[in-house]
């Protein structure tokens, strides 16, 4: 192993751990909140089962606003909110708050788009069979849109990794922050390159896994 990696291995492992925490929380937020939010966006659209112009407009606006913020500004803008729920605006735990919020907005949009790809007729057939809204969502929409939902989550996770790299501004740590502070600011270009390589491997693995799973579950 190159000397520079041996020398910094404690810090490297710690930053990988921080990245995992930040991305992990983002993924959980995306699934637990982004998936229902995206489903609601879809269902409240014109012509859909829970059509409601007011609900759709409000949800749509919120998602757009969050997504149109340059992420760095969103982090800064959310500092009072972060302090309110975590107790501090500094550190890895605090960094998960803006990440979770962008994750929800990001994935909900991709969920909405995947659901829009489900043929209307499938929903119509489900309703004609006496399916409730819950049945339509879980037994028809998610089944038919599942490969799109997986691909969307894959794309989202890769974005979350990218977002997590700038969390150094609030002391969030992570591989990106480590690469900047040790590699770039201390002119250890070699170390920075290794960090980029680590991220590249992660992204490749995630994309490969996502694409493979999506292909295997797609029977359309």
């Amino acid at each position: 192993m190159p000397d520079v990696l041996v020398q910094y291995q404690t810090e490297i492992w710690r930053s990988i751990g921080e990245t995992f925490i930040m991305v992990g929380v983002s993924i959980i937020a995306a699934i637990l909140v982004g998936l229902p939010l995206g489903t609601w966006l879809y269902l409240s659209r014109k012509g859909q089962l829970l059509e409601n112009r007011a609900v759709f407009s409000v949800l749509n606006l919120i998602v757009n606003i969050v997504r149109s913020f340059p992420f760095l500004l969103l982090v800064v803008f959310l500092i009072p909110f972060t302090r309110l729920i975590i107790g501090t605006a500094i550190g890895t735990a605090a960094a998960t708050v803006p990440l979770a919020i962008i994750a929800i907005a990001h994935y909900s949009r991709l969920v909405e788009q995947s659901l829009l790809d489900v043929p209307r007729g499938v929903v119509e057939a489900a309703v004609s069979m006496g399916a409730s809204i819950k049945d339509v969502i879980f037994k028809f929409l998610y089944v038919e849109a599942r490969s799109g939902l997986v691909l969307g989550l894959t794309t989202s996770i890769i974005s979350f990794i990218s977002y997590s790299t700038i969390m150094g501004v609030v002391g969030g740590g992570g591989i990106g922050d480590f690469a900047i502070r040790y590699g770039y600011q201390q002119f250890k270009t070699e170390l920075m390159m290794y960090m980029i390589l680590i991220m590249l491997v992660f992204v490749q693995m995630i994309q490969f896994t996502g694409t493979t799973v999506a292909r295997l579950i797609d029977k359309r």
């Binding site: 043929p119 499938v122 119509e124 057939a125 069979m129 006496g130 029977k219």
Partner: protein, 248 residues
């Protein structure tokens, strides 16, 4: 069996169905025909309230659908089967899982599912296809799976929205044969919306002609049976044999 009274449906400024009243008797194969935009598909969708009428009442099988609660309506829909021009199968579910779906929705005991699914698939001649996905089937086979799915909960009524309009003539004849035998053997009342004259002539006992959202005329017919439409002699023979089976 089905009674519509003064039903009206607007889509924005357009009136799709204007104050239509009609009655469909139990055991009929009832046709609704008309040009594109005449409102026939909307009329069919009003029968199971896929479209909510803006005015009027819909009665099926002794129940006034328009005055039921959401839950009661869902329960009633379990015994109103429906098939579509585009089949509308769930492409990510196997044939078996597509057909078992309505049984699960209706909360039928799990132990009865397999036997009922196989019975329905047997009826449409596709029991050996149970583990296939819709993408592996032809159009006619997909429609037969859709029919099996619609039959699963032993419906009293089967609503058919352009059931043969995306199928070739041979397959059309095959699907009409299946519908006819559902009517004869299971006593299911069938409503068929179509723009194809032949479909009406071959299987319907009664037909309503629609124009501009209203009933133009309703008349009784003597169904002519499903004839050969192909000029390939082997196909004639095939059809004659098939017709023999359906009658038996």
């Amino acid at each position: 069996m089905i009674t519509l009274t003064n039903v009206r449906k607007q889509f924005g400024p357009d009136t799709a169905v204007r104050d239509v009243s009609l009655h469909i008797d139990r055991g009929d194969i009832y046709g609704i025909i008309g040009a594109s935009g005449a409102g026939k598909s909307t009329l069919l969708r009003l029968m199971n309230l896929l479209e909510m009428p803006d005015a009027g009442t819909v009665e099926i099988d002794g129940a006034t659908l328009t005055s039921l609660s959401r839950r009661q309506l869902r329960e009633k829909r379990h015994v109103i089967g429906m098939i579509f021009q585009q089949f509308n199968l769930v492409a990510n579910k196997t044939v078996y899982d597509n057909v078992v779906a309505p049984l699960k929705l209706a909360g039928r005991p799990k132990a009865t599912h397999e036997a009922r699914v196989l019975e329905c698939l047997h009826f449409v001649g596709l029991e050996t296809f149970k583990d296939k996905y819709p993408a592996q089937l032809s159009g006619g086979q997909k429609q037969r799976v859709a029919i099996a799915r619609a039959l699963a909960n032993e419906p009293h009524v089967l609503l058919c929205d352009e059931p043969t309009s995306s199928l070739d003539p041979n397959t059309t004849a095959e699907i009409l044969g299946v519908l006819k035998s559902i009517n004869e053997r299971l006593g299911v009342t069938i409503v068929i919306v179509t723009h194809e004259m032949d479909v009406i002539r071959q299987v319907c006992d009664r037909v309503t002609v629609m124009a501009d959202g209203a009933v133009y005329e309703t008349l009784d017919l003597v169904p002519g049976g499903v004839p050969a439409i192909d000029n390939n002699p082997a196909w004639f023979v095939d059809q004659l044999k098939k017709a023999g089976e359906t009658d038996a």
